[in-house]
């Protein structure tokens, strides 16, 4: 039996297994490379575990996810439009721009600051501070100016292009460059009628908030609903732009032509009579629709930043709804209405005016201090006798008198759909500051405050068969493609229809008898003047007054009511000389714009139907 050595041939031929030796020698290199290659994945896995389990990391990532997922964009729907009653645009939208900087692209913040200072009148230091920020993960874009006009943006674009063409250098070279400046279009508010009806409309600020008038009252509806949407950066996840409906549009009761005409007449009257300010309210007494509401001062709503220089506590944005004053003798129509309706007096009731009436420990005198002798109630209104009014109030009784005043809406908001309405003040028996004497003074419009709109609304009840309609300026709303009409609403019925008719007749007669300058040829109107002394800390002024007139017509079928108030006129203190002619002039234009034929023709046309 032979024994054969079995083994590696190389071993056998005396090479002492050199390959195996080298292989073992170099094994550590493979191990090292393997370990190195494994090290990084192991680190990645450990990091993944750490990120997944460390609460801080989890929170941080959750916060960062949206930033990397997409761009968050605020989608603001176009603001609703505002039209007059015939569909003429009063408040619309136009393209304006937001000017900003992409911080990573800014080469020369000095140039940007200088240019915007000159072209947009934006403070240089403010722009420089924003534009010179270092771009970072949190600072990408900065807004420099908003509501920039198309013309201004075109100027900036031309400058930017010129600088680019002239070979603007890098950031270090500090060559002039507007690189990084970007313009984003958006819709901003515009008012085509400029000053006309500005006190009714109000305005919209840069942040889209409506202020004053209709813009503030209906802001939530006009502005629509803003939406925030994340647009994914991943192109495979391109998202639809959400359908954001525009804000609701409004059709006002205002007639632009009447409004413009009334404003023109009022401005002329203020200038002619040297008054501090003026207010006119034109209503349809049948519906409570405000056809025009003119007041001063007014402003071009396209430059609404002038607001701060024009308005303050003594000069509210809209005197017609926000300024309560002692109306004076125009208030007498309510006193007589209360007396007639309660049965305390009749039109033919005779009052002996001795020139003085004692009530609550004070003496009431007439406006001229005289005694007017025997007067029926029409005479009391015609001569505007304070003594007679105080007597009527005392005959009516305090409780009844104030109940009627409340029913006429005195001392409470009319609820008109405009921002900033004032309620005025009506003291009542039981109030801490009410005295018996107040009944006497209140009867002729002293010691009680109302806004011009409140007085106009109260008087409109007398023109509308005793029904007080809620005054309003919005006729319809247009939302989601449908038009919703607002139906006229009865606020109260302070007097009976026959009382209203009787008083209208008495007022029309009193104007005719005294040949008032308020009369309008061809049209029978009813009305009452008012001359109110102005209360001061030292008592009532006698040389400065509030001159007013309230009137309506045609008496047999009232279609309009006009309230005129001129504050502190210098040409004359009397309402009959200052406010009454303004009423007449307004009505002469109004009947043309309303297509109202003279009474005789109207009656003739009605009979022939």
């Amino acid at each position: 039996m032979s024994v054969t050595t079995v083994g590696d041939p190389s071993y056998r031929n005396g090479t002492t297994r050199p390959t195996a030796g080298r292989s073992r020698q170099h094994d550590w290199r493979f191990v090292l490379v393997g370990a190195l290659l494994s090290f990084v994945p192991v680190l990645i896995i450990l990091q993944m575990i750490r990120i997944q389990t460390d609460p801080e990391q989890v929170a941080l990532l959750r916060e960062r996810i949206p930033r990397y997922q997409g761009v968050v964009q605020l989608i603001q729907p176009p603001r609703g439009l505002i039209y007059d009653r015939w569909g003429r645009l009063l408040a619309g939208n136009k393209t304006v721009y937001e000017v900003g900087v992409e911080l990573a692209d800014v080469k020369n913040p000095d140039t940007i600051a200088d240019t915007l200072d000159i072209v947009l009148d934006v403070e240089r230091s403010y722009v420089y501070k924003l534009a010179s920020q270092e771009a970072s993960e949190t600072a990408v874009y900065a807004v420099l100016a908003t509501h920039v006009t198309e013309e201004q943006v075109q100027k900036l674009q031309v400058l930017k292009d010129q600088m680019e063409l002239s070979g603007a250098g890098s950031k270090d070279e500090k060559k002039p460059s507007l690189s990084g400046l970007v313009f984003s279009p958006m819709l901003g508010r515009t008012y085509p009628e400029k000053e006309t009806a500005s006190n009714i409309l109000g305005f919209v600020s840069l942040d889209g908030q409506g202020y004053y008038g209709v813009e503030e009252h209906y802001n939530p509806m006009l502005a629509g609903r803003k939406t925030t949407q994340i647009f994914p950066l991943d192109p495979t996840q391109a998202k639809d732009m959400p359908s954001v409906p525009p804000g609701a549009s409004l059709v006002l009761t205002i007639d632009r032509e009447i409004q413009a005409e009334v404003e023109r007449i009022l401005d002329e009257a203020i200038e002619y009579h040297g008054a501090d300010s003026g207010t006119v309210v034109v209503l349809n007494p049948r519906t409570g629709e405000v056809l025009a509401m003119a007041t001063t001062p007014r402003m071009d709503l396209n430059n609404y930043r002038e607001y701060l220089g024009q308005y303050d506590t003594d000069n509210p944005f809209n005197r017609a709804v926000s300024y309560a004053y002692e109306p004076g003798s125009v208030f007498k129509i309510l006193t007589v209405a209360a007396g007639l309706d309660s049965g305390a007096i009749k039109p033919e009731t005779v009052f002996l005016d001795t020139g003085v009436f004692e009530i609550g420990g004070i003496y009431i005198y007439n406006w001229n201090g005289g005694a007017w002798g025997q007067q029926d109630m029409t005479g009391c209104l015609q001569h505007s006798l304070n003594v007679c009014m105080a007597w009527i109030a005392s005959q009516t009784g305090a409780a009844t008198f104030y109940d009627y005043m409340e029913a006429f809406g005195i001392g409470s908001l009319t609820g008109i759909d405009m921002a900033g309405e004032a309620a005025g003040r009506l003291k009542r028996p039981g109030d801490g500051d009410w005295y018996d004497a107040d009944l006497g003074t209140n009867s002729f419009g002293q010691g009680v405050t109302t806004t011009p709109l409140q007085m106009a609304a109260a008087a409109s009840a007398l023109a509308n068969e005793g029904k007080l309609m809620a005054p309003h300026v919005v006729r319809s709303m247009i939302d989601k493609g449908y038009q919703y009409d607002i139906e006229p609403r009865v606020l109260s019925t302070p007097v009976k229809p026959e009382t209203a008719r009787t008083l209208s007749e008495m007022l029309a007669t009193s104007l005719e008898v005294e040949s008032s300058v308020a009369l309008v040829p061809g049209y029978r109107v009813a009305g009452k003047t008012g001359t109110a002394e102005i209360p001061t800390p030292y008592g009532y002024t006698s040389n400065q007054t509030n001159a007013s007139f309230v009137g309506w017509g045609p008496v047999d079928d009232p279609q309009f009511l006009v309230y005129v108030w001129l504050e502190k006129p210098s040409s004359s203190i009397w309402g009959s000389e200052v406010a009454a002619p303004v009423f007449s002039e307004i009505v002469q234009h109004l009947v043309v714009l309303l297509d109202l034929p003279p009474d005789a023709i109207r009656q003739q046309l009605t009979q022939s139907q």
């Binding site: 279009p185 085509p192 391109a238 639809d240 309008v520 043309v592 022939s608």
Partner: protein, 164 residues
């Protein structure tokens, strides 16, 4: 024992055949994955392109909306009360006086109506906006739908009896 070996050998695959089968299977899987990935890429690319086109069109809509608003405002400026009065005066017109107005009866004349900018709300309800399924369903859902649709004719077959 030899018989068993002979049988086993007879039915055994040659090693090269087994290798070919493995390679073939691997290639088949690879090709299948490539096809699915290709289809997925193709569909995704088309969806993305269309999505971007939609975004572009939406951007155009916003631009047109702004242009319409601009034009509306421009027209309103040109037709504002002050502008109209100025133009009327330039053309020789003047405001009519109260005593110059002539009222005549015109049979059939319809009085001017206040603005009607939109229809009054009625019982008509619009259908909800629909989006094509191409924009909403996943590839897997699409495949499922296609398969279901292709097999539908067979699924609808009902067994029937032959009347004697």
């Amino acid at each position: 024992m030899n018989r068993v070996q002979n049988l086993t050998q007879a039915y055994s695959q040659a090693p090269w055949r087994i290798q070919m089968q493995i390679i073939g299977g691997f290639l088949l899987a690879l090709v299948s994955i490539a096809i699915v990935a290709g289809i997925y890429l193709n569909v995704s690319a088309r969806a993305t392109t269309i999505g971007r086109e939609i975004q572009g069109l939406q951007s155009d809509i916003r631009k047109l909306d702004r242009e319409i608003a601009d034009l509306q405002s421009q027209v309103a400026f040109l037709k504002s009360a002050a502008e109209m009065e100025k133009r009327a005066k330039e053309m020789g017109f003047r405001p009519i006086g109260m005593d110059e107005t002539l009222f005549i009866r015109v049979p059939g004349y319809v009085e001017r109506r206040t603005a009607v900018m939109a229809p009054a709300p009625g019982p008509v309800t619009l259908p909800p906006p629909s989006q094509p399924s191409e924009y909403t369903e996943s590839l897997f859902a699409w495949l499922q739908r296609k398969i279901r649709n292709s097999s539908f004719p067979f699924m609808s077959l009902q067994p029937f009896k032959v009347q004697p």
